[in-house]
Symmetry: C2
Subunit: 128 residues, 2 copies
């Protein structure tokens, strides 16, 4: 039978607007319809949506995701190209992790700095 757009919205955390937008934009391949023309999602769709969210949330632009997904339709010949794109993205994610770790440290230092300023201010208050 398949899932309604409402169900998929709840399961994926994407709004119904966003799901329709993704299909419209070709990010999500055409979703099957029931006899009334209503979208009828299946488990494969849900899996694909999960991959799309993963790519999106790690900073891949919608346009790139679309390109990646569209390769799936071309079957075996595009497997290595898909793999290449994922590998490229993996490098990107790893860089981002390093970057974030560095910045987490910076922020940590800044926090310590603010704490020391506060302490200093308090000491001065007590002396006055």
């Amino acid at each position: 039978m398949g899932y309604s757009i409402k169900t998929i919205s709840q399961k994926s955390g994407l709004s119904q607007y966003t799901l329709r937008y993704y299909e419209r934009e070709g990010v999500l391949p055409e979703v099957a319809r029931d006899e009334h023309g209503n979208r009828c999602f299946h488990d494969e769709d849900l899996e694909l949506i999960s991959l799309i969210c993963c790519l999106k949330d790690t900073g891949m632009p919608i346009a790139d995701i679309k390109q990646f997904i569209s390769l799936s339709k071309e079957g075996h010949s595009s497997l290595s190209e898909q793999r290449r794109l994922l590998q490229q993205h993996k490098v990107h994610i790893d860089e981002k992790i390093k970057f974030f770790q560095t910045f987490a440290e910076k922020v940590e230092h800044k926090i310590a700095y603010f704490a020391s300023l506060e302490e200093q201010a308090e000491t001065e208050n007590n002396e006055a």
Copy 2:
């Protein structure tokens, strides 16, 4: 004497447009001017810009950065509030790092999966 906007643009990696935009929006506190009305940045500005970039690049929205920066003008009384905001943001960064690490693994698996499919396809090719 201070640095021109061009110099700061080069040093910070932000475009001149962006630097003016940040000042306009109050993300960057008012920059000093020379006798011709041209912006005249100093080392403190550069430091602040570096902090702003750090916050921005770790996902803090411009509006929140603005709020954080504006607290600086209020002196000692706002130190603990500034520290609180930074701590909050630090939590956010740490979550993001974890999230990215999980997704890096997912992508890794996907890559392995594609590689196995390719291998399979190749074997079938050789047999045919």
